[in-house]
Symmetry: C2
Subunit: 405 residues, 2 copies
């Protein structure tokens, strides 16, 4: 079964491809030199490696789409794919991974990310646009605990359910939680980690979120499990977190914070965690080097999102707060595998999703899930788990061996 193979055939343009179209076709193929795909125009004119039957064919429906691909390739590809002006026959993930690898030699440009608003009001709007699409929608293709972040596969054959539980537990072990301790969680999703911590580690958790749909689900879950006395789900932006806790954790929130607010995260961690033995774990999608976020994803899927490099994150989040970096782990391959599971489940439910939203929505989400998987496979995206501690705390175990018993 080939996921991402769209059955859509673009409505062919009436005109035959002319000189300008053939020039644009050549230019695009040559810019992506080395990528394994075949680019085909509306009249059948085609270029690119055509010998291997396993390659994807990308069909462009009209000249306008073709020229936009020249001008702003990432945005134009996403928009045209969503609109059905571009169709892909073949393996969409392999196509996108191959394009990423062909572009990997792009010259390195130091510099900041594109700007995007992430103040409290904009943050609420950004989060609402993605996470409030309906719990029923996410339930179709996430694991049973509704964990919408990178799983941890102790072996790649693990089920998604097992790998998400393994991730929740790995985070608890890295934080070295002890019974009776308190934890603050910033950006708690549907609450799975907070509930896991209370259930298995005997801690009390205050979990913060600004997604109304997620909060409602998480609160109901806490009541259902009899954990409402030890896990409270609070409607609040990370900037409003007060009080003290032994540990701070944030899984998959930093991507939405905006790099101009990383120092605010550092200040929150610095004031919340215990002054002597406090620890923090921050888990986020990152980059090997600073790069702008994919403009199509940033516009249509994750408004306001940015995937930072460690060099962007550590000075404001750790250094300015005089926190010690204890451990950094890159779990990149685990996110590719997580996304493969999500994408397979999503495709299984594509007819339901199309009926509930529409075919355009399905194509957008197919491209988003396939594109993200491709980026984790090609190394365009990374998944960093950072453990921070107080500067003078000498109480951690001598080695990391106990994490792997």
């Amino acid at each position: 079964m080939q996921f991402g193979a769209s059955s859509l055939v673009p409505a062919a343009s009436a005109r035959t491809a002319g000189f300008v179209d053939r020039w644009a076709l050549s230019t695009i193929v040559s810019r992506l030199g080395g990528a394994a795909f075949r680019l085909q125009l509306w009249d059948g004119t085609a270029q690119g490696a055509s010998t291997s039957p396993s390659l994807a064919t990308v069909t462009v429906a009209d000249r306008g789409t073709l020229l936009r691909l020249l001008w702003r390739p990432a945005l134009a590809f996403g928009e045209a794919y969503a609109d059905g002006r571009i169709a892909v026959h073949g393996d969409l993930v392999a196509l996108l991974e191959s394009i990423n690898r062909a572009l990997a030699g792009r010259p390195y440009q130091r510099g900041g990310p594109a700007t995007h608003r992430t103040d409290p009001a904009a943050a609420r709007k950004n989060v609402h646009a993605h996470y409030d699409l309906g719990n029923d929608f996410y339930r179709l293709w996430l694991d049973e605990q509704m964990v919408y972040t990178c799983a941890y596969f102790t072996s790649p054959g693990d089920s998604l359910e097992a790998a998400q539980v393994a991730k929740l537990d790995y985070v608890c072990r890295k934080l070295r939680l002890q019974p009776g301790e308190t934890v603050v969680e910033a950006g708690c999703g549907w609450g799975a980690l907070a509930l896991h911590m209370a259930r298995h580690y005997g801690v009390t958790v205050r979990a913060f979120n600004i997604s109304a749909a997620q909060l409602a689900y998480a609160r109901a879950q806490a009541v259902r499990e009899g954990l409402a006395d030890r896990v409270t789900f609070e409607d609040g932006d990370y900037r409003t977190i007060d009080g003290r806790a032994d540990a701070f954790v944030s899984i998959g929130m930093l991507e939405h914070v905006g790099s101009e607010h990383y120092d605010a995260i550092g200040r929150v961690i610095g004031r919340v965690i215990d002054p002597v033995r406090g620890r923090a774990l921050v888990h986020f999608i990152g980059r090997n080097r600073p790069m702008p976020f994919n403009p199509w994803i940033g516009r249509y899927i994750f408004p306001g999102a940015h995937a930072p490099s460690l060099g962007e994150v550590l000075p404001p989040v750790a250094e300015a707060a005089n926190l010690s970096v204890v451990d950094v782990e890159n779990l990149r391959p685990h996110y590719a595998e997580t996304l493969r599971h999500w994408r397979e489940r999503f495709e299984t439910h594509a007819p339901d999703i199309s009926a509930r939203f529409d075919e355009r929505f399905v194509r957008m989400w197919r491209l988003y899930l396939a594109g993200a998987e491709a980026c984790f496979r090609s190394g365009d995206l990374q998944l960093f788990q950072i453990v921070l501690g107080r500067a003078s705390d000498n109480t951690a175990p001598w080695t990391r061996a106990d994490l792997y018993v």
Copy 2:
């Protein structure tokens, strides 16, 4: 037995302490508010917590020394301690750790480190000043393999010998060395790691160094062990490293490179390691946040040295070379323990060392070893081990569990 308890009594000044002296005494004690020590002037005038018998007493011999302590405390303390114008009775490490902790609340100043020359000629001079003091000197207090970097104690009761072997092996496991592979080592000390890699992992190593004394020792050792065909020790600055290798390793060299040359390290790693499966491990003394190097250590012990934060290191070393940060581990407590072992052995041989150099040299090295141990205990210094990989390499194991079998 109390190490660092100097038997020296400063030559007392003839004058009785006056108003200015008492003001200076109060000012210094109040600047170090909270530090557990007693500061005493030449005539017995004293301030500071004096009730606990376990506290160190710092005795200042004259007004000039006292006023210099106000003006440039770190430099003045080191110089006066070396000269015998300051004596410490009590636990020198505990004293310095306590002072570090009292100063830990200093306001954070972003900014670069002090400048210091580390071009190839200066680098040779800097390295010669420290590492060419004589192999016989270092043999007195290092482990039997002469490893002059942080050891790895799987439990704190391990011997220094065992912990250094454990470190060498841990580095090999983190690099995931396979028989037949090639390794480049930049800054190889007396050669222990290169020889360990060849002996136990079946790899071929080119190891670079600019210390003549270390190179002579390492070459002799390779011949003695019958490894000279698989380990070559080359006289060369890291900037001159050419060719290709499967892995790059540098243990305890980055401290001497100078932050203005970190991008050169990144370029060397980027061009040396295999373009598909290359890995690198960089191990260095660092900081939680950018800070100038201790001026006394920088002038008298390690000319040209700097301990950088991760935010200073990762952009030029990893990001500019498009390398992926795979793993960062902070081994800070292990360096405190390593230094404790070194200091105990150093004190055992202090009479020999004094006879070979002089009493001033012994005091300088006592202060350096005790001060470094105190910094690792108080969190003023960190020890980072960074593993880097190629951006698109997906061949690493899924978890780190195999490092701890």
